[in-house]
């Protein structure tokens, strides 16, 4: 049972037993801060009180009463302790930021100048980054880095698919630090820009200058680092800069679309350097996060979007950039027609632009299985025909089982249909394959990654 609910029930019984004055003075502001289950039916509950006077009094006077009612409500044998803490529910009513701390317009343009100088796109801050379980780790790590530069996690390596906020977090670190100290040596560069610069430097014979520039940085942000893979000279140069920077206490933040172990043609010494820091993956945003992102983006454009419209938009897109694009479209349409943004308008435009909608209009059953078969074949570099053949050698049979698993579990096709699709096999074969993969998936990380990769490439094919 939820701890707030437990406490509500306890309070409502206490309300009856004590006088209303006593109740509102001592008990009404209390709450449960944490519960911990111990063995043999016991539970430890910590109760938060707004001040030590209140904690003392409750402990002395109402201990037995609270314990009785807790035991009855939860069915456990409870042990209770008291602590002094502000009730988070009452704390939350945030008043708008006061003027001294909200940046005036001049300051805003000032900081934008500073950001521009460091090649950092403005508008990406921690404040406008929506956090949910999929990206919370990454957000916390980035915050920690911005608080304790060069010490918390160095290097910080963020990876994940497109439009999930890697670059946003990276830029937010720089934004926060530059606000405090506009003279901080910060550089943001993409893997591709970095490569070009080195090539230029080699061409103009001024690699020394290049080295000097990079090695005095306090914070280096390298976006899409996978692009330097396979470029020997660039990697070597980066390796040296990287070492020099770290030695001087500089911070390095990297992003990539895959973890260091999977970046092909990355030199081993670089890979091991990357792995020495903190590697965090950001998974694709879920529906709630997408809705929150929609609200934030809309607010930045100065529109108050009703919740249900934000949710509709969130449910129809799978990444933040698409949402941004859609909002632009929505605003332009609304302005052009001179009507407010309504649910009808949103749905109408959604029908025109949303990739998910389009695919649902087609018959998914007709297109999906073939795409999945192709994706699996491509992923394991075996021909489609071989995948569907009678061959029972492991390199073919294993991908085939994965294929069956995907078709059955992820796309919900009937067993017999799956059997028919993969070369006229019996439905028991399919059952065996699905069972095998399902048990392995919980322990085998490589398999999990393979499945994720295949799913991504399937969705990629469908949206093209």
């Amino acid at each position: 049972m939820d701890k707030n609910k437990i406490w509500q029930e306890v309070l409502s019984t206490l309300k009856v037993s004590v006088s209303s004055g006593n109740y509102s003075t001592w008990l009404s502001q209390t709450f449960i801060t944490s519960t911990r289950e111990l063995d043999n039916g016991r539970q430890l509950i910590e109760i938060g009180c707004p001040s030590s006077f209140i904690a003392d009094t409750i402990e002395k006077r109402y201990f037995g009463l609270i314990l009785d009612s807790l035991n009855r409500t939860t069915g456990y044998k409870n042990d209770i302790t008291f602590t002094v803490k502000q009730n988070p529910a009452t704390e939350k009513k945030q008043v708008q930021e006061n003027s001294l701390f909200s940046q005036s317009f001049e300051e805003q343009s000032n900081i934008n100048d500073v950001l521009k100088r460091h090649r950092i796109r403005p508008g990406f801050t921690f404040e406008n980054f929506a956090v949910s379980s999929s990206n919370q780790m990454a957000w916390a790590a980035a915050e920690a880095v911005s608080k304790d530069l060069g010490k918390a996690y160095n290097p910080l390596f963020l990876w994940g698919g497109v439009g999930i906020g890697k670059t946003h977090l990276m830029l937010a670190i720089a934004h926060k630090l530059l606000l405090v100290d506009p003279t901080l040596q910060v550089l943001y560069s993409t893997g591709e820009e970095f490569t070009t610069e080195i090539v230029e430097a080699i061409k103009n014979k001024n690699t020394d200058e290049f080295k000097k520039r990079y090695r005095k940085l306090k914070l280096l942000l390298l976006d899409d680092v996978q692009f330097i893979a396979g470029k020997e000279k660039v990697q070597e140069e980066f390796f040296h800069s990287f070492n020099a920077l770290l030695r001087e206490g500089g911070q390095v933040v990297l992003t990539s679309d895959r973890p260091p172990t999977e970046i092909e043609k990355l030199e081993d010494r670089l890979r091991s350097r990357f792995e020495a820091g903190l590697i965090i993956d950001i998974s694709p945003p879920d529906f709630e996060l997408l809705s929150a992102i929609t609200l934030i983006k809309a607010q930045e454009r100065g529109i108050e979007l009703p919740m249900e419209i934000a949710q509709t938009i969130g449910a129809n897109f799978d990444n933040a950039r698409r949402i941004e694009g859609f909002l632009t479209r929505l605003m332009t349409e609304a302005k052009g027609r001179n009507e407010p943004i309504t649910m009808e308008l949103t749905e109408k435009i959604l029908g025109k632009t949303s990739p998910k909608r389009e695919s649902t209009n087609l018959n998914p059953k007709a297109i999906l299985p073939q795409a999945v078969i192709d994706a699996v074949a491509e992923y394991y570099s075996i021909s489609r025909r071989k995948l569907l053949s009678d061959s029972r050698v492991r390199p073919v049979a294993y991908p085939r089982q994965i294929l069956m698993y995907l078709l059955r579990i992820e796309f919900g096709l009937p067993l017999q249909e799956v059997g028919r699709l993969i070369g006229g096999r019996d439905h028991t074969t399919v059952m065996h394959a699905v069972g095998k993969i399902s048990t392995r998936i919980s322990t085998d990380n490589a398999l999990k990654r393979d499945l994720l990769g295949i799913k991504q490439s399937v969705s990629g094919q469908l949206s093209v």
Binding site: F53, L100, F105
Partner: protein, 368 residues
């Protein structure tokens, strides 16, 4: 309980203690003062559950015991009694107060209902000199927010490290920052957010006696205890992150003006007559060698006062709330004020030319 005490002693105690009595009376006992007689001291205590005080005074104890009496009744009664001996006797929830010529019988509530108010601190973490506390009370406390909606801003931030002590407070529209050089070895590195009201009370309590005040920070219980020779004051440590105040203190300014404090006080007071009618806005115009304070209100008229100033860096016109200006001017000790800014909408930095350790910041009001 039976004690004999001097009227002037107990009255002083009651005056201090009664400020801690709860004004929102949800529970009758919280508007009472606890009177305890044990061994050889008489103790008065009160709490509003946010803060508490325990105050000791000398008395002749004839019988130990305790009772609580409504604060208002006992304070008013005591202040009307003549100086000299007063006998207090508690029996069955009644307190009999007898002096030379009069006697009164007051109904109280049993002391067992009264919340626990700490009598002493177990361990003193550091001490603050009375003078320093007075300075902080005068120059920093007034900038803290009186509004409960943002608890963090109702506190004074104390950062203590080996260089000394820094006290900062802000209500979002102005900010006070005072540095105090260490005068003896402080071996700690800590930041504590203390309720501004508690500091105010401590300063009031010790205004007439020279002493060092002990401070105990109880992180676990989130409690803060001030110990003086007569009283122990308890409050709650404020939780949360204080705003990043260093960010809003300008590192450099382009325009600087120096002028006499008394002249500015007079000018602001004059213009405040009309400013009061237009949401408190007074405008400051800085020109070559001159500072003009003026205000305009279409339905009441306009006022203007100028004073001599030494100006560097050009001309500027800006606007402030006159109350904020006056409160700052009252807190400054020197006779000359240094005002500097980066423009009409940038925050105004006020300093006392004789006191480098004190800085005050006021956010200007935007006017067309």
């Amino acid at each position: 309980m039976e004690v004999v005490v001097l009227q002037e002693d107990i009255l002083k105690g009651l005056m201090s203690v009664s400020r801690f009595v709860s004004t929102r009376v949800q529970l009758p006992i919280l508007s009472n003062i606890l009177i305890v007689a044990d061994k050889n001291t008489l103790r008065l205590a009160a709490t509003n559950l946010e803060m508490g005080i325990s105050y000791k005074l000398g008395a002749k104890i004839e019988e130990e015991g305790a009772i609580t009496i409504p604060s208002k009744v006992i304070s008013e009664l005591m202040s009307n009694l003549p100086a000299g001996k007063v006998r207090l006797k508690a029996d069955k929830g009644q307190l009999t107060v007898t002096s030379n010529s009069s006697s009164a019988n007051l109904s109280g509530i049993s002391a067992s209902e009264f919340p626990e108010v700490p009598e002493t601190a177990e361990k003193i973490d550091f001490t603050i000199n009375k003078e320093i506390l007075d300075t902080i009370n005068k120059q920093v406390v007034f900038s803290a927010s009186r509004d409960d909606s943002r608890p963090i801003l109702s506190g004074v931030l104390f950062s203590i490290n080996q260089d000394g002590l820094r006290a900062v407070s802000t209500d979002g529209f102005r900010l006070s920052c005072k540095d105090i050089q260490k005068n003896k070895k402080i071996d700690m590195d800590q930041t504590v957010l203390m309720p501004a009201r508690l500091i105010e009370e401590v300063a009031k309590l010790i205004s007439n006696s020279e002493e060092e005040i002990g401070v105990s920070v109880l992180d676990g219980e989130k409690q803060l205890i001030f110990t003086t020779s007569t009283a122990t004051l308890t409050g709650r440590l404020i939780e949360g992150d204080f705003p990043d105040y260093k960010r809003i203190i300008p590192k450099s300014t382009t325009i600087t003006a120096r002028f006499s404090k008394d002249d500015l006080v007079r000018a602001v007071k004059i213009t405040s007559v009309i400013a009061r009618e237009s949401s408190g806005v007074v405008r400051l115009k800085i020109e070559k060698d001159k500072l003009t304070v003026f205000t305009e209100n279409p339905s009441f008229g306009c006022q203007e006062a100028s004073l001599d100033a030494k100006v560097e860096g050009g001309e500027v016109e800006t606007a402030f709330n006159y109350k904020y200006l006056l409160e700052f001017l009252n807190s400054a000790t020197g006779s000359e004020i240094v005002f500097s800014t980066n423009g009409s909408t940038a925050s105004g930095v006020f300093k006392d030319s004789t006191d480098e350790s004190y800085l005050h910041l006021i956010m200007p009001i935007r006017v067309q």
